[in-house]
Symmetry: C2
Subunit: 235 residues, 2 copies
C-alpha cells in the first residue's frame, strides 16, 4: 500500500472501530435494562426498550459486515491489516448474539415472579451473575477498542468464574424445585436466564479471542486461559 | 484476475469446500453417536468418541479459517468470490458450534437415566427432535456444497419446526417434574439437551443464511423465512 492508501485504510479502520463501539454501547444499555428487570420485576417495559435497541444492533451488524467486505475488496489489505478486519466481523457476530441473549433475559425476567425465595435468587444471585457477564462484555469491548491484550486475557480468564456462578445458581434452583414443586414453572424460566448469562460469557470470550487473533495472528479459540497468557507474554 | 489466477482461485475454493465438507462429515458422525446415546443410554462411551471427533473438528476450523485469510491475502478476490470466502468463515464457525452442542448432548445423555416416563421422552421425543436437527444440519451442508438456495430456504423454514418441538418437549418435562419431583434432577439435564438441539437448529439456519449471502450478496440474517423466499425468487 502507498502512504496515501495507508491513510485511507486507517480512516476505514477507525470508522469500523466507531461502529463496533456504537453497537457495543447499545448492547451495554440493553444489559442495564435487563439487569434492572432482574433486580425488580416491576420494570415490565424493559423488554420493549430492549427490542428497540436490538433492531439497531442488527442493523449495525449488517452495516459493519458490509463495510468489512468493501474495505477488503477496495484496499486489499494483507497480514495484520486483514486480520484486524476479519476480527471485526467476528466481534460484531458475537456482539449481536450477546444482544440476543440479553433480550431473552429481559423477556423472561417478568415470567419468574414466584415465591419469596425464587425472587431472592433472581434479585441477588442471578442479577449478580448478570453483572459479572456485563462487566466481562465491557472489558472485551475495551480490549477491542484499545487492542489491549492484557484486557483480552482477563476476559478469557473470567469465563470460568461465570461458569461456576451459573452452576451455583442452577444447583440452588434445582433444590428449590425439589422442596416446593409449585416453583418449577418459574424456576425453569430462571434456569434459561442463567443459561443465557453463561452464554454471554462465552461470547465475550470469543470477542477477546478475536482481539488476540487480530493482533497476534494466533488462533487461541481452543486454547486454555493459561496457554493464552503464555502466548501473550511471548515475543 | 487473469485466467491463470482464476484457475488457482477455483482450486482454492474447491479445497475450502472439501475442508468444510470433511468437517461437516465429522459433525454428522458425532451427531449419530449422540442420537444413539439418546435412544439407548447403554452407549456410555459415546462421549469419548464424540470428544475425539471434536478435536479434529476444532483443528479443521482453525485450518480452514487460516486458509481463508491466506486466499484473501494472496488472490485479493472481490465481489462474489470474496463473499464466498467470507461465507466459508461463517459456516465453519457455526459448524464448530454445532459440534460443541452435540458433544454436550452426548455427555448429558448418560445423566438422564431416571424413571420409565423420562426414558421414554428421551428415547422418542428428544431423539426425534435431535434427528430433525441432524437432518437440518445435513441439508445446510448440502446447500453449502452445491450453493443450492432452495435447500438453504428449506433449512431456514425448518428452524421454526425445531423450535416448536423444543417447546413441546419442555412442556412435557415440566409436567413430569411437577407430577414427580424425584425426576427433577434428570429432567433438568434433559431440558439442557433439548436446548442444545434447539441451538443446533439456529446454527444450521446461520449456515443456510451464509450460503444465501455468499451467493446472492444479500444479508438475510434478520429476515423472516417468507422474506428469504421472496428474495430467492427475485432476479
Amino acid at each position: 500500500m502507498t502512504e496515501h492508501t495507508y491513510k485511507q485504510f486507517d480512516a476505514d479502520l477507525e470508522e469500523l472501530r466507531s461502529g463496533v463501539l456504537a453497537m457495543g454501547g447499545l448492547v451495554e444499555q440493553q444489559f442495564e435494562l435487563a439487569i434492572a428487570a432482574l433486580e425488580d420485576a416491576g420494570l415490565q417495559d424493559a423488554e420493549d426498550h430492549v427490542s428497540v435497541n436490538e433492531e439497531q444492533v442488527n442493523r449495525l451488524q449488517v452495516a459493519i459486515d458490509q463495510q468489512c467486505s468493501q474495505i477488503i475488496a477496495r484496499r486489499q489489505p494483507t497480514a495484520v491489516d486483514l486480520r484486524l478486519i476479519l476480527a471485526v466481523t467476528k466481534v460484531v457476530n458475537d456482539l449481536e448474539r450477546i444482544g440476543d441473549e440479553v433480550k431473552k433475559i429481559a423477556r423472561k425476567a417478568a415470567g419468574t415472579q414466584g415465591d419469596e425465595r425464587l425472587t431472592r435468587v433472581r434479585r441477588f444471585q442471578v442479577a449478580r451473575t448478570a453483572r459479572s457477564a456485563s462487566r466481562m462484555t465491557r472489558t472485551a469491548l475495551d480490549a477491542f477498542a484499545r487492542l489491549d491484550l492484557e484486557a483480552a486475557a482477563e476476559v478469557i480468564d473470567r469465563d470460568e468464574e461465570i461458569d461456576a456462578e451459573f452452576h451455583a445458581v442452577l444447583r440452588q434452583l434445582v433444590s428449590y424445585m425439589m422442596e416446593d414443586p409449585r416453583t418449577i414453572g418459574p424456576a425453569v424460566e430462571m434456569v434459561f436466564i442463567a443459561k443465557s448469562i453463561e452464554r454471554i460469557g462465552d461470547h465475550a470470550k470469543n470477542v477477546a479471542e478475536a482481539v488476540v487473533q487480530g493482533v497476534k495472528g494466533k488462533d487461541v479459540r481452543h486454547a486454555s486461559a493459561a496457554e493464552v497468557r503464555a502466548e501473550l507474554s511471548g515475543p
